[in-house]
């Protein structure tokens, strides 16, 4: 192993993770830190390396470089011991065609060292799952529910969830959110890979954004918002010259007396002063949404 991890208290501590598939470098010195008891959002465009990262954390794939600590252990070497303390929901759930959902839930639970029968029953009721159906008869959403019940019914410290709500209807999605909130209340740790921003905003304490195999932003939602830009539009009596040259002002559009621009948090004061000098008659300010934040990062993938 390379450098020692810098945060021994973290549940997941990944530094400089590298993974190649043939000649393609899918993880490019990725670093990720998840503290105990937090719900951590893991976001990124398709093909950014989210699932690969999760599979390395599970010891299903082997890393080609970097240091990884998971629950204080090495995910490749200590896979079996670590897996007793975590549960995983894959993004694409494959079930055995001839086993019923209930059998799969019990099998995966026992393989992990047992599950809580009360919690199992409660979850099946909550997700309205029919556990007597054969694996091949389930729809995508129902396969997802089987994997969710199997993972959530066991008493583990860490949940690794790879787009766990894909295929669930909105009601079930709401049930899932409720449950994750309870999980957080119990002090358990969750790494949640997701595309659904509302879900991340509602659940996650901290977020890491991954692009091209590396984490490009990481922090609390408030911190990330600060990194983003506010959209300002204003009606002015006279449009002052040199607005576009102000620090932190981007995408300035002038239509007669009306301007719109996006402003970095640090450039806000300067722009306000300039607009005030131009005689503001109307002003709207739209705070950065998480969506804009992600779009800004996602779009950078295009050359």
């Amino acid at each position: 192993m390379d450098a020692p991890p810098d945060n021994p208290a973290a549940v997941i501590d990944v530094v400089g993770l590298v993974k190649h598939f043939g000649r393609t470098r899918v993880l490019n010195e990725l670093s990720l830190s998840v503290a105990a008891g937090e719900v951590h959002g893991f976001l990124g465009p398709n093909g950014a390396g989210k699932t690969t990262t999760l599979r390395i954390l599970l010891g299903l794939l082997r890393s080609d470089g970097g240091s990884i600590r998971l629950l204080g252990g090495d995910p490749w070497r200590d896979a079996v011991d670590l897996h007793r303390r975590l549960a995983y929901v894959p993004g694409d759930v494959a079930l055995w065609p001839t086993l019923t959902g209930g059998e799969v839930i019990d099998l995966l639970g026992r393989l992990r060292g047992g599950l809580d029968p009360h919690r199992r029953a409660a979850l099946i009721e909550r997700f309205e799952l029919d556990p007597t159906m054969k694996g091949r008869a389930y729809s995508k959403g129902n396969r997802q529910k089987v994997a969710l019940v199997a993972a959530l019914a066991s008493d583990v410290e860490l949940l690794l969830l790879d787009e766990p709500t894909s295929g669930l209807d909105p009601l079930m999605e709401a049930q899932f959110r409720e449950y994750i909130k309870e999980v957080r209340g119990d002090g358990r740790t969750v790494l949640l890979s997701s595309h659904i921003l509302a879900e991340v905003e509602a659940l996650c304490d901290r977020v890491s954004i991954i692009r091209d195999g590396a984490v490009v932003e990481s922090g609390t939602l408030t911190q990330l918002r600060h990194l983003s830009r506010t959209t300002i539009s204003a009606d002015l009596t006279t449009v002052p010259a040199g607005l576009a040259d102000l620090p932190g002002v981007h995408d300035l559009v002038t239509e007669g007396q009306r301007i719109t621009a996006s402003v970095e948090t640090g450039g806000m004061a300067g722009l306000m002063a300039a607009l005030g000098a131009g005689g503001v008659t109307a002003l709207t300010s739209a705070p950065p949404t998480l969506e804009e934040l992600f779009l800004r990062h996602y779009q950078k993938t295009r050359p």
């Binding site: 599979r55 599970l58 010891g59 299903l60 794939l61 082997r62 896979a79 079996v80 011991d81 897996h83 007793r84 995983y88 894959p90 694409d92 759930v93 494959a94 079930l95 055995w96 065609p97 001839t98 086993l99 019923t100 959902g101 209930g102 059998e103 799969v104 839930i105 019990d106 099998l107 995966l108 026992r110 393989l111 992990r112 060292g113 029919d130 556990p131 007597t132 159906m133 054969k134 091949r136 008869a137 994997a147």
Partner: protein, 530 residues
């Protein structure tokens, strides 16, 4: 009606693209076997007298007739050349055609890929039509080229053409059987199972029919494989018999489409019944056993029937002890001394080779589980990699041993009942057990390939096919000894027999163990591969 067929051309192109290596390779294998066998036979039996003697020997030997069918014209060089091809290799070819039809119809539904395709401008009937066109085309090309290969080897034109037409018609007929099976079954695996069962029954029916002097000869006429023999290439060239498989095809194909219209995409005609809402499975071995059990049960019943039949006809050769030609032929089959023993040894060798196929399909379950993503679910729980691997490997290896045990018992029982000597049971069972290490080596070889190069696992079947061809044709083609010895099946001691060399058992087991260790070590170090 045109709407039902929309998109067929595109699906045919898709199937040909997916099988651009598989189909040509298999066609080439069958064509090459036809051509080589014919030219080798021409060389082996240069004059009329030697041919008649060989053919009469075969015809008077019940076990050989049961295996390959009789030779209808002992004076015909062509009829002698195609001994192994009219029944046994027609059955192998039919297995291929069934697998192809299911692969392009039912199996596609299961993976959900057909749903993707079906949402496009594709008629409901198009996927099955496309599968049948591709497989029918493959059958015709295979038959035609095989006929040409026989002609090239110097056999008469008319006989070669009707031989090829017979293979093509048999292929078509079993493609139609598979099309019906694909509608009845709950999934691709089960559809293949139904298709293979029909082939096995057809083969068995004609074996019994061919054996009966004055008994149920009509059984051969119930079997598509029997029809292929009754075409009698180079021995009368009865073109009209070809109408039987073609008529069967013409009946079965509309049945398949009618059944297709009565079920939904992805489901069989029988709806899935609900199962238990809770399960007792709790270990990788338990899971593997649950998944593998149906296959082993099917193989057990098939092996018992086949082995019992073989055992009960083996003593028939004893009456022919005085013919020197029989002795020569028997030695060619791999026997050593004592004609009955030699036949039993040859038959147990065949059982060992066939049962190795069970071992391969059981061990390749590892690959299926891995590529479907189900291994991920097991390994993401607290399952050590080796424990998961060992669960399937144990069932494959123990399953092979179990099948050879019951095959040996059934052969011994059949033979013991026929000759009234209960002592045969033990002797023949022990002889059957001696075939276990070779089959293990085959399983271990496929396992090692999977461990090292998971995406190349299917090539294990290719190696198996090569070993079979070497074993079946090596002597006829005059392959050098070392080439014949590359096949593990050639290294098993020839039992029952007086001078069996048991050292092979040690080597086979040691190499198998080495390959298992190698495959396990490779799998422990590698990524799971999709």
């Amino acid at each position: 009606m045109s709407g039902e067929l929309a998109g067929t051309a595109g699906l045919v192109r898709l199937a040909l693209r997916r099988d651009r290596v598989l189909i040509p390779a298999w066609v080439a294998l069958f064509v090459a076997m036809s051509g080589f066998s014919a030219s080798a036979t021409v060389g082996l039996y240069p004059d009329q007298a030697s041919r008649i003697e060989a053919a009469n020997t075969i015809n008077s030997t019940a076990s050989v007739v049961a295996l390959y069918g009789p030779i209808y014209d002992p004076s015909s060089l062509g009829a002698l050349s195609i001994t192994k091809m009219t029944a046994m290799y027609a059955a192998f070819m039919s297995i291929l055609m069934v697998m192809l039809v299911v692969r392009h119809s039912r199996a596609e539904e299961e993976t959900g890929r057909l749903e993707l395709v079906g949402a496009g401008v594709v008629g409901r009937a198009a996927p099955l039509v496309a599968a049948l066109l591709v497989v029918g085309g493959a059958s015709c090309v295979l038959g035609l080229l095989s006929g040409v290969a026989l002609m090239a080897a110097g056999l008469p034109v008319a006989g070669s053409l009707i031989f090829g037409a017979g293979w093509a018609a048999t292929g078509l007929c079993f493609a139609a059987v598979a099309a019906v099976a694909a509608q009845l079954a709950g999934g691709g695996r089960a559809a293949n199972g139904i298709g293979f069962t029909v082939i096995a029954l057809a083969y068995l029916a004609r074996a019994i029919g061919d054996l009966a002097e004055a008994g149920p000869g009509w059984l051969s006429w119930l079997s598509p494989i029997g029809w292929n023999q009754q075409v009698r290439a180079y021995a009368g060239d009865r073109w009209s018999v070809l109408l039987l498989p073609l008529a069967a095809t013409a009946v079965l194909v509309p049945v398949a489409f009618a059944l297709r219209g009565r079920r939904d995409l992805g489901s069989g005609l029988m709806p899935d019944r609900p199962g238990p809402g809770a399960g007792r499975l709790g270990s990788p071995l338990g899971l593997a056993w649950r998944l593998q059990r149906p296959l082993l049960i099917a193989w057990t019943s098939g092996s018992v029937v086949l082995a019992f039949m073989m055992g009960s006809i083996a003593h028939n050769v004893a009456g022919l002890l005085d013919s020197p030609a029989v002795a020569k032929f028997v030695r060619q089959l791999g026997g050593a001394q004592g004609l009955t023993d030699a036949f039993l040894a040859a038959e147990l060798g065949l059982m060992g080779t066939i049962i190795a196929a069970y071992g391969i399909s059981a061990i390749t379950r590892l690959r299926t589980e891995e590529s479907a993503g189900r291994a991920e679910a097991v390994l993401a729980a607290a399952t050590p990699r080796l424990r998961w691997v060992a669960s399937h490997a144990l069932i494959a290896l123990a399953g092979v041993a179990w099948l050879l045990l019951v095959a040996g018992l059934a052969t011994g029982l059949g033979h013991g009942l026929a000759v009234g000597d209960p002592g045969q049971v033990l002797r023949i069972t022990v002889a059957a057990l001696a075939r276990i290490p070779a089959a293990w080596l085959m399983v271990a070889l496929v396992f090692a390939v999977w461990g090292l190069w998971p995406r190349a696992t299917a090539f294990g079947w290719g190696a198996y096919a090569v070993f079979i061809v070497i074993g079946e044709f090596g002597q006829l083609w005059g392959l050098p000894r070392w080439a014949m010895d590359t096949s593990p099946f050639a290294r098993s001691p020839v039992l029952p027999g007086p001078e069996a060399d048991l050292s092979g058992l040690v080597w086979l087991t040691a190499i198998a163990a080495g390959l298992l260790a190698c495959g396990s070590a490779a799998f422990r170090r590698r990524d799971l591969a999709g």
